[in-house]
């Protein structure tokens, strides 16, 4: 296993310490927990946004804690849901009196533990709501999911609901716009290589030197099919075809496009994919209002890419454009 780590059982602890040391102006850690929150937390009178899930998807989610995005992120062990107890610590740490919105990726463990924490918080009179992101069009049920998985499209939910909360919207309204974002976003990914969970030391799957896995998940779960490696243009086309089949887009509609690297993909290759993704959308007369290219929701060292499309309206555009200042996403 080729990794730059210390003891395998300490990777999350070491990483969290390294994150806080890297970004002391943004982040603090709630003591005796794996919860990262904004330096000045809670923000009084503002709806608070809390997300999280298994580690190994960095910068998601701790990297998106800051102005205009999340108030806090709860980190589980690698690819393992945080406990309800940890989520509850997160809720209490970010609650500024205006309620808390939980942004949950659709994995059975995450949903169960975040919902249990929400119930416990309600017993302590904290207003709490939740949304479940299920943007992956690849598979209906998976190893870890009933229904569609939540993957890179989650970043749009952080950004848009985060902007709404920053503007002082109430909990109901922040939840509404988060749900609209979820309704409007679709993602699909592919991979050239597996990832290796440190504690197991073994690749998540075996794959031949000339093969790629199409439609896989961010934990190395199987996708739709295994096939020979295609060109970047063919890959971009195939991913977009699957996404567009599942979306209600008309000519002239506007979208945001996220070209997301899975952790081990050179930025050069992400830009190459972006070229064709933009060209294809132009051909279809869909207007790309904003493009993001980079590692936003990763899967350890996996080599691969996902494309996400978010259908926009005036409200979503305004929220997408507003200022953000977090370790991994800044917008002036």
């Amino acid at each position: 296993m080729k990794k730059i780590i210390n003891k395998t059982e300490n990777v999350v602890e070491d990483m969290l310490q390294g994150m806080v040391k890297a970004h002391p102006e943004y982040l603090k850690r709630i003591s005796e927990s794996n919860v990262l929150v904004r330096k000045k937390s809670p923000v009084k009178g503002k709806v608070a946004l809390l997300s999280g899930g298994g580690s190994g998807h960095e910068p998601a989610h701790g990297g998106f804690v800051g102005l205009g995005m999340l108030d806090g992120a709860v980190a589980g062990e690698v690819f393992t849901s945080p406990t309800a107890e940890e989520v509850l610590k997160g809720i209490k740490a970010v609650d500024g009196g205006a309620g808390v919105l939980l942004i949950i990726k659709n994995y059975s463990g995450d949903v169960m533990n975040f919902e249990m924490a929400a119930e416990l918080a309600q017993m302590e009179d904290i207003s709490i709501e939740q949304v479940i992101v299920n943007d992956d069009v690849a598979v209906e049920d998976s190893t870890y999911t009933i229904g569609r998985r939540g993957i890179a499209g989650t970043i749009f939910v952080h950004k848009i609901a985060g902007a709404a909360a920053e503007k002082g919207w109430n909990l109901e309204n922040v939840k509404r716009v988060a749900q609209k974002t979820i309704k409007n976003v679709r993602t699909m990914g592919m991979s050239l290589s597996p990832c290796i969970v440190p504690s197991s030391g073994k690749p998540s799957f075996e794959i031949e030197e000339d093969e790629m896995e199409f439609g896989l998940g961010i934990h190395g779960e199987p996708g739709i099919r295994r096939e020979k490696i295609k060109s970047a243009d063919e890959i971009a086309d195939a991913l977009l075809d699957n996404i567009l089949k599942d979306m209600d887009l008309a000519k002239g509609d506007e979208v945001a496009l996220l070209v997301n690297g899975l952790g081990g993909t050179p930025l050069m290759e992400l830009y190459i994919v972006n070229k064709e993704a933009n060209n294809l959308l132009k051909e279809k007369e869909v207007k790309v209002y904003k493009t993001m290219v980079g590692n936003y929701m990763t899967s350890l060292e996996m080599k691969g890419v996902s494309l996400s499309l978010l259908k926009l309206d005036e409200e979503l555009k305004k929220l997408l454009d507003s200022k953000a200042d977090t370790p991994a996403f800044k917008q002036l």
Copy 2:
């Protein structure tokens, strides 16, 4: 070769198209060239900063074109210097009448072609100066270099000289502070895996499953030694030891720290390295004024990390802190 590309001979062209499509609000491409410049270029009356070099180091350098950093970047083929003719196109495109500063990484081809372009520009009465970055403490001469190589520390030169130029400083003064930055910055890296230049299709070196290469360059050039993989803490300590031996740092001095991923390294591992790097500097009573963690100067899909230290004074701190807005580096 597991890459998401089209034809190997088109990777730079495809990438440049993808970059401009991703960041139309920041970048434009000078026609019939591989030169990216600011959307609104030239900036009249401002000293212009031009950098560049072989491709494969993304986001360097096109990702750093924008407010407070570069005015333009010239992209050569993968790991190949751009021609003098291309550099000259870049100079002419960014020159706003106050002169142009070339920021060159120390590789023989880059130095030769940038210097030739400078001479040609001077013949056309463009004021031009240059600085050569040579931050790598690992080796004295290398496959591609006489003297020390220029690697990730170059990002600090972009940021600091870019801030000075944005403030309206003249060419002489921008060059002075760029040279001070070069004098004060040191870098060293290590790698777990080679990279593959698309046109060759072969790994830059062979390495065993339990080995790492210590002190290598960003083109997969050999380093100081091959050894068994050590822990992240030991790696951070060894890199810093080599850097500190070469620096004149006293207790109480302030530094900026860059933990740079080489392209295929998960962010989790960079944060783990950052934990120990920060701890060690604290032990030595060196104050870390600012930390940057991420992929800034990469080597295609190479798995590895470099550490850079920049010794700060009040002038450098102020310039480091000022606003920047580029595709790959934003600071509010």
